[in-house]
């Protein structure tokens, strides 16, 4: 008889007052007992609606059954057949709009805590440290992967499993893409990213850091070096600005710069680390997605006294994960909804002193289906802040399209692919993740990497005859 409790087993979390002052992970994760108990809430539906909601088709009821039985090794091997980065996905996937959103239990009460269980399984196995690198026979066929984010790493791992000689080329000095330089430590510990990345390297993937494809070497030159196919997972790294007056004042950051300074260059540990970051007493973060929440919560931890989320639509429309909005509120982030910045104001030395905003109201739905915000007349006001972080989105970096003849792209920069194969307009060149979709999610990027790996395998086999 399944456990019919309407609520998920609670996940222990750091107290908001304490975690405001540290970068340690907020959610502490289930114990084995808690996980086994939560697992008993699953109805083991034959129709598996949860799996339909999972972009990489993790066999959810099967792995949950294994957890219920206390067979965590089995659960791990079920998950990792489809998902190479379970500790990461368990933490950052927007479960409420994917697997958990479809869960039958969500109709009455809370869904099964699929994300929490996935995370538990991965953490449990990793803490035992017994992930055996499998011995895979190489087929001698070289494939290049551009970018060590979730899209690139997944594609590399899948191809390595099939025996390909895969080399990943990464521009930065660390692996993980946004998982590393974007998503903060308190939500996704870097040591964990490193471990999951290592498990992919252990499959026999070669890593070439500090190489920028398009600058250090071009896609065409990779072919000349004998790579038979190329997967481009270069992400969406180009920050958008708003073209506001005052946007270049000292104290205005793109979310990317702010988060990269803190995460990749460990500015939170300045001066023990030489890269600094400036946070004033009052910080305004413009935007309402995961990136904005991360920037706001980071600012809280860096010691800002007042941190605002300034978002031009309402609560309903906030695109961030529910859990992060909830966490941000608990940590004291102030939500200025239905507000839009119009100008950034500075002092005579060029430092930010405030942000002029207007209030908004919601009109008819627009193309995106969300109600279109419009300005309320005579509603200008000045929000006094010393730091402004612009977190309104990123578009794909132009470097690869500029240096790869024959690659078709959308007007906004996304690489155009055939959805079933992820092949681009250039034969043997595949692409996926944020480089194709614009800023999206980790799991979609992984799904794209997997699809591309399958397609590359098929195509290259054809080539071999």
């Amino acid at each position: 008889m399944p456990n019919m409790s309407p609520k998920k087993v609670q996940i222990p979390e750091q107290d908001p007052q304490i975690r405001r002052k540290n970068f340690d992970e907020v959610a502490l994760g289930y114990t084995l007992e808690q996980a086994m108990e939560e697992a008993t809430r699953c109805l083991q539906c034959k129709t598996k609606p949860c799996v339909d909601g999972c972009p990489v088709n993790v066999p959810i009821p099967e792995f949950i059954k294994a957890v219920e039985d206390g067979n965590i090794d089995e659960a791990y091997s079920i998950i990792t057949k489809e998902n190479a980065l379970p500790a990461i996905c368990g933490r950052v996937c927007p479960q409420e709009s994917q697997c958990e959103g479809r869960c039958v239990r969500a109709k009455k009460g809370e869904s099964v805590g699929i994300g929490r269980l996935e995370r538990f399984v991965a953490d449990y196995i990793m803490s035992k440290g017994n992930i055996e690198p499998k011995n895979i026979e190489k087929n001698g066929i070289k494939v290049a992967v551009v970018g060590a984010g979730p899209a690139g790493l997944t594609c590399a791992g899948e191809l390595a499993k099939k025996g390909y000689e895969v080399t990943v080329f990464e521009a930065l000095h660390e692996l993980g893409g946004v998982l590393l330089y974007g998503i903060p430590e308190f939500r996704l510990p870097k040591s964990l990213v490193a471990k999951e990345v290592q498990s992919i390297i252990d499959m026999g993937v070669e890593i070439n850091k500090n190489v920028i494809v398009g600058r250090s070497i071009t896609v065409d030159e990779l072919f000349e070096e004998g790579y038979k196919a190329i997967f481009v997972g270069s992400g969406a790294g180009l920050p958008k600005f708003m073209n506001l007056e005052g946007e270049n004042l000292n104290g205005v950051y793109s979310a990317n710069e702010f988060l990269t300074r803190v995460n990749l260059m460990k500015a939170y540990d300045f001066p023990n680390n030489p890269t600094p970051v400036k946070t004033g007493k009052r910080v305004a973060v413009v935007g309402g997605g995961n990136v904005a929440m991360d920037a706001a919560r980071t600012a809280v931890r860096l010691g800002a006294e007042e941190v605002y989320i300034v978002y031009r639509r309402g609560e309903e429309e906030l695109p961030a994960r529910l859990e992060e909005i909830h966490h941000a509120k608990e940590e004291g982030v102030i939500f200025k909804l239905l507000n839009n910045p119009t100008k950034i104001i500075g002092d005579e030395k060029g430092w930010v002193t405030g942000m002029e905003c207007v209030q908004m109201e919601l009109g008819e739905p627009d193309d995106s289906g969300r109600r279109r915000p419009r300005v309320k007349e005579n509603s200008e006001f000045i929000l006094p802040v010393e730091t402004v972080v612009i977190a309104i989105g990123q578009s794909p970096n132009p470097l690869i399209r500029q240096t790869t003849p024959g690659l078709s792209v959308e007007s906004w920069g996304g690489i155009i692919v055939q959805e079933e194969t992820m092949e681009t307009s250039k034969e043997y060149v595949y692409a996926g993740g944020d480089a194709v979709t614009g800023a999206a999610t980790v799991i979609l990027a992984m799904g794209a990497g997997k699809t591309a790996a399958e397609a590359i395998h098929k195509k290259v086999l054809e080539l071999q005859g």
């Binding site: 000095h173 250090s216 600005f241 104290g251 710069e257 060029g350």
Partner: protein
């Protein structure tokens, strides 16, 4: 890891290093730069490619010891390695086949200027160069420049070499003497480039400058290196670092470059050397 194959102290605060970096050496062109991390605890610092050798797969950098990370680099010896070395970054300089060009290099700015001047010389362009520095000691690459220039002028703050004063004093003199240049290429501290443009802009002499805002990734990802050029926002790491000097908002650049002044100071553990000087 990227091996240091040679190093040479050019003066008290400036050092040349030759580093094995195949990807960069194979591809780089004058005007481009690299980003390196000396060790695992260092910042990512951008440095211009001063020279390269495609066969040996080496890249030469010339840098001034100004703060924490350049100090760490300075302490490395031949045979040691730097942990990260990425590039080539930025756009190569577009060198035009003018008749006559004037190069102006302030302090270590002479290093990035040199490959451009050499290339112009190879293209058959007549080039004059003004080098500036705090004193005689701070003038670098004199012999190298001599080989590729028609006239080589010097300006030092203390008059220990060439004219006592600034590179702009010589520029003014040359102009007063009726010298005509199709283009001026000025590379050095921002204040120097700003002063040069202050002279060339009213006379409408095409002037190229090389901007060096604070950078992190160098690939267009962070937006920290943004500069205003002709009322448009540009990212110096991907759209530059060379820009039309007549259009650059230097005051904004100066202001943004000083954003971390205090912090850098606290990081400069017992260090002599100070700012670039022209």
């Amino acid at each position: 890891m990227y091996k240091i194959v040679d190093k040479k102290q050019l003066n008290e605060a400036v050092e040349l290093m030759v580093i094995k970096a195949p990807y960069v050496a194979r591809k780089c062109e004058p005007g481009q730069f690299i980003i390196l991390r000396a060790d695992n605890n260092s910042e990512r610092i951008p440095l211009t490619i001063a020279d390269y050798n495609r066969e040996e797969e080496t890249v030469t950098i010339i840098y001034q010891v100004v703060g924490y990370s350049t100090k760490v680099l300075y302490e490395k010896q031949v045979g040691d390695s730097v942990v990260d070395f990425v590039g080539p970054l930025g756009k190569p300089t577009e060198l035009k086949k003018h008749k006559k060009v004037l190069g102006i290099g302030g302090g270590v700015g002479a290093a990035p200027l040199y490959p451009q001047i050499r290339k112009l010389h190879e293209m058959g362009v007549e080039v004059d160069v003004i080098l500036g520095g705090r004193s005689d000691e701070y003038i670098i690459l004199e012999e190298e420049f001599k080989a590729v220039t028609k006239n080589l002028y010097f300006a030092t703050n203390d008059g220990s070499k060439g004219k006592e004063g600034f590179v702009t004093d010589i520029l003014n003199e040359l102009i007063a003497n009726g010298e005509e240049y199709d283009e001026v290429i000025a590379i050095g501290p921002l204040v120097m480039m700003k002063a040069v443009v202050g002279i060339t802009k009213p006379l409408n002499i095409q002037t190229a400058v090389s901007l060096n805002p604070v950078m992190i990734d160098g690939t267009g990802m962070c937006g920290g290196c943004r500069v205003t050029v002709g009322n448009e926002i540009k990212f110096a790491c991907v759209d530059g670092p060379d820009f039309d000097g007549l259009l650059v908002d230097f005051d904004e650049c100066l202001r943004r470059q000083n954003m971390y002044k205090e912090e850098e100071h606290s990081c400069r553990i017992g260090l002599e050397g100070g700012q670039n000087n022209a």
